[in-house]
Symmetry: C2
Subunit: 541 residues, 2 copies
Amino acid sequence: MTYAIGLDFGTESGRAALVDLSGGQVLATSVVRYPSAVIDETLPSTGEQLPPDWALQDPDDWVKVVEKAVPDVVKQAGVEAEEVVGLGVDFTSCTVLPVTSQGVPLCTLEEWRSRRHAWPKLWKHHAAQPVADRLNEVALQRGDAFLERYGGRISSEWYFPKLIEVWLEDREVYDECDGFIEATDWIVWWLSGVECRQTATAGFKAMWSPADGLPPTEYFEAAYPGFDKPGEKLGDTFVPLGSKAGTLRSEVAKKLKLSESTAVAVGNVDAWVSVPGVGVEDPGTFVIVIGTSICDMIVHPEEVRLPGITGVVKDGILPGLYGYEAGQAAVGDMLAWFVDRLVMDSGSYGALEEAAAKLEPGETGLVALDWWNGNRTILADADLTGAIFGLGLHTSREQIYRALLESIAFGSRRIMDNFEEHGLVLSEIVACGGIAERSPLMMQLLADTSGRRVHVPEVQEIPARGAALFGAVAAGVWDDIGSAIEATRPKRVRTYEPDLEAKKTYDRVYEIYRALYERLGRTEVRLMHDLKRIRTERRDA
Amino acid sequence: MTYAIGLDFGTESGRAALVDLSGGQVLATSVVRYPSAVIDETLPSTGEQLPPDWALQDPDDWVKVVEKAVPDVVKQAGVEAEEVVGLGVDFTSCTVLPVTSQGVPLCTLEEWRSRRHAWPKLWKHHAAQPVADRLNEVALQRGDAFLERYGGRISSEWYFPKLIEVWLEDREVYDECDGFIEATDWIVWWLSGVECRQTATAGFKAMWSPADGLPPTEYFEAAYPGFDKPGEKLGDTFVPLGSKAGTLRSEVAKKLKLSESTAVAVGNVDAWVSVPGVGVEDPGTFVIVIGTSICDMIVHPEEVRLPGITGVVKDGILPGLYGYEAGQAAVGDMLAWFVDRLVMDSGSYGALEEAAAKLEPGETGLVALDWWNGNRTILADADLTGAIFGLGLHTSREQIYRALLESIAFGSRRIMDNFEEHGLVLSEIVACGGIAERSPLMMQLLADTSGRRVHVPEVQEIPARGAALFGAVAAGVWDDIGSAIEATRPKRVRTYEPDLEAKKTYDRVYEIYRALYERLGRTEVRLMHDLKRIRTERRDA
């Protein structure tokens, strides 16, 4: 009997899942909340007020998760230490921290603890937006080709905006640190004693590619004169996903009550590791993680550059393939907005879903643009806002609720169309996440609007499970992640077949959606931008 | 001491108001509900099911109102019969009925009672839509100039669609009746024994004008071959508003306990008579009757033809001036939709109004198109539907409520712009109706979006009061309605001054509203039309 453990680090908490490698079942789970959670008000060391848009974390919180959750799942499952052969990790990204050459986080050292730039910056730290704007502007001016891999723009959440923010605002911290490292790579370092950065975050977040390396130094210098060693805190060696970083350090093994021979895989990221987590390895499958927002992923043997996606990265999701990421910004939170802020009856989800399911395609007379939190793919425009068309005196709550679900489905279809229009054929959909579990209507609408079969696999703890599979590959249980996925593929318990009559009607409604999408999102985009600008001015006045 | 009585016939009930002519105060009111109300399900005489979109009334109900309400107000006010010198009438329009040469409604005769076309067709009888479509189509093909007086199209609610519907569907009723007459003219005939049709409904509803008479017979024949005497049921003599029809018939005077010398004015229509009712006689004042929907009226010495208005008619509102009518289709009912169907708390109007009033112009980030019931002016398109733009996760109920109020105000500004762009200067607004009384915020928004002062006069029973003033003019108390209005003008108790800072912000939001209005209402109108078509098909499937 062999087992592997996946460690999944989220925004508010971390968790461990112990996986039985004979079939892939999750046998035990343990969740530990971070004591400091998201640090966005005051710096713990000094009590100073943090500026707006700051979001930090405490690396000691992550260590606490490991020390508590790992022994916990081993004990719960009642397995022997020696039977746990591998350990994999996934983390939010881009969460990054400055460290010494020994891998010690600067913020844990007395002399740097009071400097806010010494702390890990969480993925949703948005204070580096001006740096991202500048980097985008200069890349566009210069016509740098790397930008095409990221659908035409990079995000303030990424590696270089956060690093250059340190360089600009606290040069001493910048000079003192030896590395500025993704948290997923740091936790692997802490576990194994080996610094081992991987290709996935290097590609998706640090603008690196196996063929071209980093963007040219002249580009960075054009944006920020003097910033002339872009790679000095990042390193220049990146290993593919599926590699083994090493084995557990002896003092860590002792603390975790595991064997020192337990293999540790290189780090991964929570969204992308869901692809092996749900048992997908083949090009042509569109994986939708649908919860508060949507993260879409596909893998493909070729690189295609296409507009509006989050990114395309070699080895970014599965080794040997190009990983593509796209997404929708408002999904579960848009439905929660409707139920909690408009209907103001948080108990009404079930009744709304039931009533909405009784309506026919096209019967609401409504079309919505699902931009309650901007548009991520393919317009990549945070200043867009939501809209509902077709309202009348007859319009009911459940009609609007259904129109919101339909707008999510149309948004997904628009993204799939974008892939297909650029030559990536998508034959089916695998969906997971909270809404895949809770809303059969949403799943049916994804099928009916796109004409594709939707599978919802029977599987829990998807990212942690995916990380555990990478741990098992590192341990040599399988030769590669593809074999691991095949051997442990979860049952597809629920399949939603597209209703072709419904599809015909939805094709007509989608045509209207797409026309409004183009008009309000592109050709007449100034209308929504002006509206938001006026609101921002008035709110700040 | 002299008094006059106004009789106001609405959709569900009729009422009398007794007005003191020394100052114009309403001293007594009496409301009588029609026993048969709106007849839209089964014909009372036979019990037969009425076809869809039918809406009839019973003329006996109207007579009951007169016989009950008139003695009632005289008694309540405690005045002498001789002191009541005049009586005026206003009615819904176009409510029309077939009558004999003696003015007997066909439906009151035993041999015709079982024929549904023998009954009065209420204004909102919409079954003649195909006739209206045909009449519009042929007028457009032929380029008939009369259509310009009606903003480019006539309504199914008007005189000829309803008359031709009889001609097409029950030729015997058509042949038998001597006249097909507006209810307002019929009730004057019943009161005074004098058939006296007036210019206002002839102009606004029967496509007649003093200069050109009716549209040419060839036009009607082109649309309906064989319909070659268009005027035979309408007559060809029309007297201006403000004329005296006669005095009370002796048997009527006896029943009503009034003097036989009481003057009876020619008939009027509920919306238009609100203009004298609120004390307006001057060009340049925009009168808004704001309730379930909005009826806008202005008077002007010149005729200007402009798109989208309901109509422009010489002597149509006040004698000697051109009367212009425009309107908005969804107002109070759109707000009721939000409160009753979406918020589902009919007690929340007050709280919503209060919370919405605390928001700043532009702060909602929202713009709505107020087309919940189509657009009456200036697009004249019943197939348009409502829309809300700018929705986000922060959007609150009160923000949407305010956006709906703002959309009503923008809709009014769009109509005022239309008038001004065609040379009719509008310097101020006088508002009346339920929402003018209940929503100070709505009134302030009308002022702030248009930059015009809004007055809400202190006056009740506005249409009945206006009718009573016409009754007084018929009695010779004043030479003309202008003098009557001047002598009895109600105090303008509440004035809403435009806030020029707010206006600046609203000018920017209005620019967005107007752009969306043009795109979705005109250049891209097929989007909303398609959406509605799909809904109609699915609903009927």
